[in-house]
């Protein structure tokens, strides 16, 4: 239990690695399902570019995570979101409705999860 709490603290803390998160609505959780276009494993934040079907169009979402340093200590790797991977991702969306969000958790096709997927 203590370890689980530590992981949550790490995740929360690392998301605020270098800038304020005021552009994201921490009171809302949006679930996106799509295909990874690109995974930017770089400091100060990792970014997942996710292609999401929206009606007849493909909408590209920019999803911001923590630093690769801390995420690597929580099981993440540069290959975690390989291009072409089908995945569902929960985010705190941007307040202005634009296709961007702050990473909360992800669930892969095989049922494995990473991050704080169980948060509603």
């Amino acid at each position: 239990m203590r370890y689980a709490l530590l992981v949550v603290f790490c995740a929360v803390a690392s998301l605020s690695a270098h800038h304020s998160a005021t552009m994201f609505d921490s009171t809302k959780v949006k679930e996106l399902s799509g295909t990874v276009k690109e995974f930017q494993w770089k400091n100060p934040h990792v970014w997942i570019q996710l292609n999401v079907q929206n009606g007849g169009k493909v909408e590209e979402w920019s999803i911001e995570g923590g630093s690769p340093n801390t995420l690597s200590r929580n099981g993440w790797r540069p290959s975690t979101f390989s291009p072409g991977t089908a995945v569902s991702i929960k985010v705190n969306p941007m307040k202005d409705g634009q296709p961007g969000g702050q990473f909360i958790g992800a669930k892969f096709a095989d049922g494995k999860t990473i991050g704080n997927w169980d948060r509603d």
């Binding site: 530590l6 276009k37 934040h45 923590g66 801390t70």
Partner: protein, 285 residues
């Protein structure tokens, strides 16, 4: 080989002077070794090896945060330092700017350090290099280095120092506790330094004393006491704790400018760039 052959240029008279100087130097070192803060060579230095991580969120004073468990950066979250009326007004102004989305974190430019005492309140890993003369606190985030001189030196005279992000840090050992005395921070004078993203700030007159120790095998603790004649009506005490990360943990390069997709606009709004490098934000000013 004589000293002269080595080119010291000492004759018989010079040798006597050299001997007198050497004796004086030895006496000086001996005397210094008995002074507080100079005794590091004589005591066993504590083992602070490994990597550590702050426990809890990046709220500086979690004991007084409102609402309870509030996150730094969320609108309306605040702490209760014993602010003077002047600094309470500054804090409220900062809180209002956060609500409007125009309170940029100085470090978001990827060009300046967190500074002190904020260095005790950052995410990612910490490391400590403990030597008899100096202790370095190294934060992975930033990255940041706090240099703490434990060789007995004092702070420079006020006319010989100026405000820097990390300030001037001198330390002395009280058993296994490192007592760090910090002055000459930049503070909020030119909006250089914050303590956290609730908008918490101090003046350039702040004086911080931190008692840093390892309380058990897996926990370090920093008891931070802040005095600030401009910003505070009385001493403000804050305790932060750090948990040891698993043995063998690696600490990595943190190049903030590597892929910063959150630039700050001229109006102080932190933007979010899409993969094409253009702001996603509807409002950019």
């Amino acid at each position: 080989m004589t000293q002269q052959n080595r080119g010291w240029g000492l004759g018989a008279r010079g040798s006597k002077r050299f001997s007198a100087f050497a004796v004086a130097l030895l006496l000086s070192v001996s005397a210094d070794a008995q002074q507080p803060g100079r005794s590091a060579e004589a005591v066993a230095l504590p083992d602070w090896s490994g990597a550590w991580q702050m426990i809890g969120p990046t709220v500086f004073d979690t004991a007084t945060v409102e609402p309870k468990n509030g996150r730094a950066g969320d609108p309306g979250v605040r702490e209760r330092p014993p602010y003077t009326a002047e600094y309470e007004a500054i804090y409220l102004k900062n809180i209002d700017a956060i609500k409007k989305g125009v309170f940029p974190d100085p470090i978001s430019t990827c060009g300046v350090p967190h500074g002190m005492p904020r260095a005790f309140n950052v995410p990612d890993a910490y490391e400590f290099a403990v030597t008899p003369q100096q202790v370095w606190m190294i934060t992975e985030n930033g990255p940041g280095i706090i240099r703490i001189y434990t060789d007995g030196r004092q702070h420079p005279r006020s006319e010989d120092r100026w405000g820097t992000y990390t300030g001037d840090n001198i330390g002395r050992w009280e058993g296994d506790t490192l007592v760090i005395d910090t002055v000459s921070m930049k503070g909020w004078t030119e909006k250089d330094e914050i303590l956290d993203r609730t908008g918490l700030v101090l003046s350039a007159d702040a004086h911080v004393v931190t008692r840093l120790r390892r309380v058990d095998a897996s926990t370090m603790e920093a008891q931070i006491t802040v005095d600030d004649p401009k910003a505070l009506t009385k001493s403000w005490a804050v305790t932060k704790r750090y948990r040891k990360l698993p043995a063998g943990t690696r600490v990595y390069d943190y190049a903030c400018g590597e892929n910063n997709r959150n630039p700050v606009s001229e109006t102080g709004r932190t933007l979010t760039l899409g993969s094409d490098g253009k702001p996603l934000d509807k409002v950019t000013k």
